[in-house]
């Protein structure tokens, strides 16, 4: 189980994540929100790229920042960048070595590259890869350590329709294998199709967490998403106005 407890991340005056509390114990969980909602920030805190300002993230009861936990985790960053002069196979080997392995399990790397559909390009330098191939390689490297938990930041971004279908199929297979998948996305159709539960995030706040069907309540997901976000903005507007009124004035008046 992954638990976020009063998680907050502040960048100077801006709150990117605001008192985020959530427990997740389903095979595929989707963080859904607009660009800049705080999804990536949460994921970066899980994998140790960012330190929370306050609050904790625990996985199976242990703090996610613990090095032992990182061995159980696979992470794919948003719009992944790579060492351009490496081949796909070399990159897989390098990633595996960072888990303390000798980097000799070429058959395993080949299997993973086949699974994401770029085995044919495994000996080409990454600088020759298309955006979709890079996404696939980013996905493959997240699986190199046979992780229990996968955190995928916009994994279907930049893929063509066939690529999207293939990657969604891989996620379903991962679910069957008993792994837990967390994915960030702003594409509603993907969430509806593959996620068991969703968390709706808006301006760093969790507005809803639970099954997709319950959230939709018989309406299309897009319509419900817009409704919930707009309702939240309406609620927040008066509070924002009050904060503006009470803001101290620094300019002296003549």
């Amino acid at each position: 189980m992954v638990e976020f407890s009063h998680l907050t991340k502040a960048y100077r005056k801006r709150l990117a994540v605001d008192d985020f509390t959530l427990s997740v114990d389903v095979p595929i969980f989707g963080f859904l929100g607009q660009n800049g909602a705080g999804k990536t920030t949460i994921m970066k805190m899980v994998v140790g790229l960012l330190e929370p300002t306050s609050g904790t993230i625990t996985i199976d009861g242990a703090l996610s920042s613990h090095p032992i936990f990182k061995k159980k985790l696979g992470y794919m960053p948003e719009t992944p960048y790579f060492y351009e002069h490496m081949t796909g196979m070399e990159f897989m080997r390098f990633c595996d070595q960072l888990f303390g392995n000798d980097g000799a399990d070429t058959a395993h790397y080949g299997e993973l590259l086949k699974r994401v559909g770029i085995y044919g390009a495994s000996d080409y330098q990454i600088r020759t890869y298309s955006k979709g191939m890079r996404q696939r390689l980013g996905f493959a490297q997240a699986l190199v350590n046979d992780p229990e938990y996968l955190f995928l930041d916009e994994p279907l971004d930049g893929l063509d329709p066939i690529g999207r279908r293939e990657m969604k199929e891989v996620m379903r297979e991962l679910k069957k294998e008993g792994r837990k998948v967390f994915l960030n996305t702003h594409i509603l159709a993907d969430v509806e199709e593959i996620c068991d539960e969703v968390g709706i995030i808006h301006e760093g706040k969790l507005l809803y967490a639970g099954p997709v069907k319950k959230f939709c309540d018989g309406k299309p997901l897009e319509e419900r998403f817009v409704e919930v976000v707009e309702a939240h903005e309406r609620e927040e507007a008066p509070a924002q106005k009050v904060r503006e009124v009470h803001k101290p004035h620094h300019h002296a008046r003549a």
Binding site: K44, L49, L50, K71, P77, Y81, Y83, H85
Partner: protein, 254 residues
């Protein structure tokens, strides 16, 4: 330690695939052999041949160190390739030290290539092995290691362009700072101005400690004591720079 080694080997592999580095090495070798023709102009006087050769190696290694030190680490952070590494069971300190060690290995390789060209040239021209020349190249290498540590330190908090400016400035100041102190004392500078010059002397590395070219050119005896002192000086300075760089990088938001 294993992670540091994996990252260092990877850095070496990637940098030697970089065409810019190839270009610098090829120009360096050409310059060393150009020394043959330059030597003709000065009637093949050994000190002049050595001077041209060693200065050329120093110049090209300084270019390589500046290029690698200011771009390699910074690029990994800026282009977010480091996300793949740090999200795995690798600490930020291991990543930084791995990059540093890898760049030192690249520089060792370029020093060795240019050094072999130089030693071979002296052997061909004058029939003797230039041990002092070899020592001068080793001392130059120590200076470049310090140079790389400084460039990585600056890269932890500034852009690549600013790193080039700062590192070049330190390179320049490091060569004049000891002269500044002795000039200030000779002209009887006192009070706050002398204090300021001495502050500069203690803050900036004294790179003149690594200049053994004159000893090699004029063959005035093997300066083992100076070499030992330079080695200890470089070790302490590099350790302080890497410690500071790790401290800053540990707190950096990615």
């Amino acid at each position: 330690m294993r992670n540091i080694w994996v990252i260092a080997k990877n850095t070496l592999k990637l940098e030697i695939r970089d065409k810019i580095l190839y270009g610098l090495i090829v120009f360096g070798i050409l310059y060393v052999f150009l020394t043959l023709f330059m030597a003709d102009l000065v009637l093949k006087e050994l000190p002049m041949v050595k001077s041209f050769g060693l200065t050329g190696i120093y110049f090209f290694n300084a270019l390589v160190a500046l290029f690698l030190g200011t771009t390699s680490f910074f690029k990994d952070i800026d282009r977010k390739v480091a996300y793949f590494v740090i999200s795995k069971p690798v600490s930020r300190a291991q990543f930084l030290l791995g990059k540093f060690l890898g760049l030192c290995m690249v520089l060792l390789l370029t020093s060795a290539i240019l050094g072999v060209a130089y030693i071979g040239l002296i052997l061909y021209e004058h029939g003797g092995f230039d041990w002092l020349g070899l020592l001068a190249i080793a001392m130059q290498y120590l200076e470049m290691v310090l140079f790389i540590a400084f460039a990585i330190f600056v890269s932890t908090f500034s852009s690549s362009l600013l790193s080039i400016v700062y590192t070049s400035a330190v390179f320049f100041l490091g060569h004049v700072v000891s002269q500044l102190v002795s000039d200030a004392q000779q002209i009887g500078l006192g009070g706050a101005r002398l204090f300021l010059v001495k502050v500069l002397y203690y803050i900036f590395p004294n790179l003149e400690k690594f200049d053994a070219r004159d000893i090699a050119i004029h063959a005035v005896g093997m300066p083992f004591a100076e070499f030992g002192l330079a080695l200890a000086y470089a070790a302490v300075y590099v350790a302080v720079l890497l410690f500071a760089a790790t401290w800053i990088f540990d707190k950096k938001e990615m």
